[in-house]
């Protein structure tokens, strides 16, 4: 038709008046490429993106499942064609050679011994070289890879840089080129390919339970239990859903694994669109840990009470990892840092059961602390006796409170190694107002003629 890439829109419209112009959306293209890479997960877990329009699949050891390399390549290209994509592919023992043959050659399966002869007639651009190098090679008359194969190596390296020889060696297999996959490879994986796609949630869970039973025997052989599981659902039209669920303890029990995913489904049910159904299910164990065999007694209960772990797993599977937390004492006198609400994600049953302080230990030497602490201290307007008196009345959240009794001040200096040496000093007061509510206020800063006026804040409430 006469249209070339990098042509202006006006010129192209002049050649073809009824041209449809769409703005390039690189983010959407990338997203689409990632979706196709997800789809390629059905063949092998080692999938890598290459540039803006290429995908590398490492099919070492997988090809026999699909009837050979040629059958696998044909299957991939056929399915991509049916999905509406124009794709070309090649299979060889090096990524460089496959890249070259897929883009510039015929696109087939190449045996190791044919590498040189297949590579020779291809143009130099097939070696993934930058533009300038390709132009320089053209100027010197080296237009095909075959010319480079016969030329002496040292002058080539001197003139065009080491990249040229590196690419050549990578294509021929003399140098290794690793393909780093997009997702980390799972330690254990069970797959189920269905003849008829399924849509219902109960059927999906049932299948997940069955796969978990197969997984259990595998994990038992290794003496491990899984901490993080991933369920991959391949939809018929190519979309892939990944559902990850984690637990607080390594588990092997298929019922518990199925329960985890049941909670995840409930949490996700709007996002999981079954469409026309799922045809492939895969259950991966992303993280496994040593899990000792524990013999249960006659009543069926093990020595360790797992009810808390089961509850935590259920709650985290449904609401995410941050929904449960425990208050933990820290080694700090600054109240915000003295107690932290740590989420129970990584804690095992043993850690959860540990006593905070050994019995009979000396209680800390400090004034009383409030049972509830505000996340950020709120400013109050207080009227107090200068320089170190307790407030006599204060105004908090637009309500005036008269102070009936006050205890204090308790002076807490800032931690200079964290807050810096200029951090202000706080004087804490325990206040009771006329109704009987007890608060914890502090004055930040000292009354100093040079410094700015100190401010009052509300930090917590007592019972």
């Amino acid at each position: 038709m006469g249209l070339k890439p990098d042509q202006g829109v006006a010129e192209a419209r002049a050649i073809c008046p009824r041209l449809d112009v769409i703005t390039a959306d690189e983010a959407a293209d990338r997203h689409f490429l990632e979706a196709v890479a997800d789809w390629c997960d059905r063949y092998t877990p080692l999938v890598a993106l290459n540039g803006n329009d290429g995908i590398f699949l490492d099919i070492t050891g997988c090809s026999h499942l699909f009837g050979g390399e040629k059958a696998l390549l044909d299957d991939v290209l056929r399915r991509l064609f049916q999905l509406g994509l124009d794709a070309r592919g090649a299979v060889s023992s090096t990524p460089g050679l496959s890249w070259a043959v897929a883009r510039f050659g015929g696109g087939e399966v190449i045996a190791d011994e044919d590498a040189g002869s297949v590579l020779a007639p291809l143009p130099v651009a097939a070696l993934r070289l930058p533009e300038e190098t390709v132009l320089a090679l053209h100027k010197t008359g080296l237009k095909q890879v075959g010319d480079l194969l016969t030329a002496p190596r040292a002058p080539l390296a001197r003139r065009f840089g080491p990249l040229l020889l590196q690419r050549l060696d990578q294509a021929l297999g003399r140098e290794d080129e690793p393909v780093s996959p997009r997702q980390p490879v799972a330690e254990l994986s069970i797959e189920r390919r269905l003849a008829e796609p399924i849509q219902g949630k109960e059927e999906l869970l049932h299948l997940a339970g069955q796969m978990a039973m197969t997984l259990k025997s595998e994990l038992e052989v290794r003496g491990q239990g899984g901490r993080r599981f991933e369920l991959l659902l391949f939809r018929v039209d190519g979309r892939v859903f990944r559902i990850v669920a984690g637990t607080s303890m390594a588990i092997r029990d298929p019922a518990r694994i199925a329960a985890l995913f049941s909670e995840r489904f409930t949490a996700l049910h709007d996002d999981l669109d079954a469409g026309y159904g799922f045809e492939i299910l895969r259950l991966n164990v992303l993280q496994a840990e040593a899990h000792d065999m524990v013999q249960s007694d006659f009543s069926g209960n093990g020595p360790v009470d797992t009810s808390l772990a089961v509850f935590i797993d259920q709650a985290m599977a449904r609401f995410g990892p941050d929904c449960l937390a425990r208050p933990v004492l820290q080694e700090s006198h600054v109240p915000e840092r003295a107690s932290l609400l740590l989420s129970v994600t990584g804690m095992e049953e043993a850690v959860l059961a540990v006593a905070g302080r050994p019995a009979g230990s000396v209680p800390p030497l400090r004034a009383a602390r409030p049972i509830r602490l505000l996340k950020n201290p709120e400013p109050v307007q207080a009227m107090s006796e200068v320089p170190e008196g307790a407030p006599m009345s204060f105004r908090w959240r637009r309500a005036q409170h008269r102070v009936r009794r006050a205890e204090g001040p308790e002076r807490l200096a800032a931690e200079w190694w964290i807050d810096g040496e200029d951090a202000p000093i706080r004087d804490y007061f325990r206040i009771e107002d006329e109704a009987g509510r007890r608060y914890w206020l502090f004055r930040e800063g000292l009354y100093d003629p040079d410094a700015e006026m100190p401010r009052w804040f509300m930090h917590g409430v007592f019972a």
């Binding site: 609401f319 425990r326 107690s339 609400l341 049972i371 509830r372 009987g436 019972a463």
Partner: protein, 313 residues
């Protein structure tokens, strides 16, 4: 005569049916013979056979609750305003400390689940481990959940009750939300009954509302007494043990009952507090008084002889 007897029999049969629906044995016509003495502290007392209760505090409070806090039912504790949230939280935490102490004796799980509410956490704060320790509750015995919506909180409450991993579950809600009505509270009370664990519903800043709770308390803050010194007097102008003004609004009594309680964190017990004003004692030594003037002249000097310089250094 016969009609009278028939009427009395019908009445008795009705009372028995009602008692069976409510899950307790009927109080017979003769009360003294069946009810055992309730003065055993520390052991679960079945004041009404079929319902285990925990004697919580002073005898007066247990008498109001017919033995103690029900161990497998929903109990509601509300605070009238959101700024009384501290008092209500303190009362509920004190009840949990009593429940944990009992659990430790009966060798059950020593853990409490507190399902917090976002607005209340913003208004009144999050649990502080040092303060909990001072209050008598070990911080590692508390599990604090932060659900985003009320429905998530209800699910957590049911799951927590059903899992059997907690001695008590505290569900905190803000006010009287529309999605927490009679059906939800009935469902939660049935779940508590079937699981055999108490559920404490903490309604912060809420009105009285009909629910399925057996008892409903309204907690208001009350002035505390001072610290007790070893010689028996009180340290004046000090703030001692936390005090609560508790009203038992819903119970089997005909009228709401008031009681003033004080929580002793060291002994983990409730005591009766007298609602009178602070008793006079030795004044507290603040140490914040102005020092006596020294090295100053006794009266102002006439102007002109001495000039005031700004600070030289």
């Amino acid at each position: 005569m016969a009609a009278n007897a028939m009427a009395r029999e019908t009445l008795f049969a009705l009372r028995q049916t009602i008692a069976r629906i409510e899950g307790r044995a009927s109080t017979g016509l003769i009360a003294t013979a069946e009810n055992p003495s309730r003065a055993e502290l520390g052991a679960p007392v079945t004041g009404n056979p079929g319902q285990a209760v925990l004697p919580v505090g002073p005898m007066e409070l247990d008498a109001l609750m017919e033995g103690g806090l029900p161990l497998d039912a929903l109990t509601e504790i509300r605070s009238a305003q959101l700024r009384d949230a501290g008092a209500a939280s303190g009362f509920v935490l004190a009840l949990s400390v009593r429940l944990l102490a009992r659990r430790a004796a009966v060798s059950g799980p020593a853990r409490v689940l507190w399902i917090g509410e976002r607005v209340v956490a913003m208004e009144a704060g999050l649990p502080h481990a040092a303060g909990l320790m001072d209050y008598g509750l070990e911080p590692h015995h508390l599990l604090y959940a932060t659900p985003r919506r009320l429905e998530d909180g209800l699910w957590l409450a049911e799951a927590g009750l059903g899992s059997g991993a907690f001695a008590a579950v505290i569900l905190e809600i803000n006010g009287n939300p529309r999605c927490f009505g009679l059906t939800e509270s009935r469902r939660l009370s049935l779940k508590a009954r079937s699981a055999g664990r108490p559920l404490l519903l903490l309604r912060q800043g809420g009105e009285e509302e009909a629910g399925s709770a057996f008892f409903r308390f309204c907690v208001r803050p009350a002035p505390a007494q001072g610290y007790r010194l070893p010689d028996g007097t009180q340290l004046g102008r000090s703030i001692g043990n936390p005090a609560f003004h508790v009203t038992l609004e819903k119970s089997r009594l005909p009228a709401p009952a008031d009681i003033h309680l004080e929580w002793n964190a060291h002994d983990c017990l409730f005591f009766l507090a007298r609602p009178d004003a602070l008793s006079a004692g030795k004044p507290a030594d603040f140490g914040a008084g102005f020092p006596a003037s020294a090295d100053r002249s006794d009266r102002t000097q006439p102007m002109g002889t001495i000039l005031a310089f700004s600070r030289a250094s």
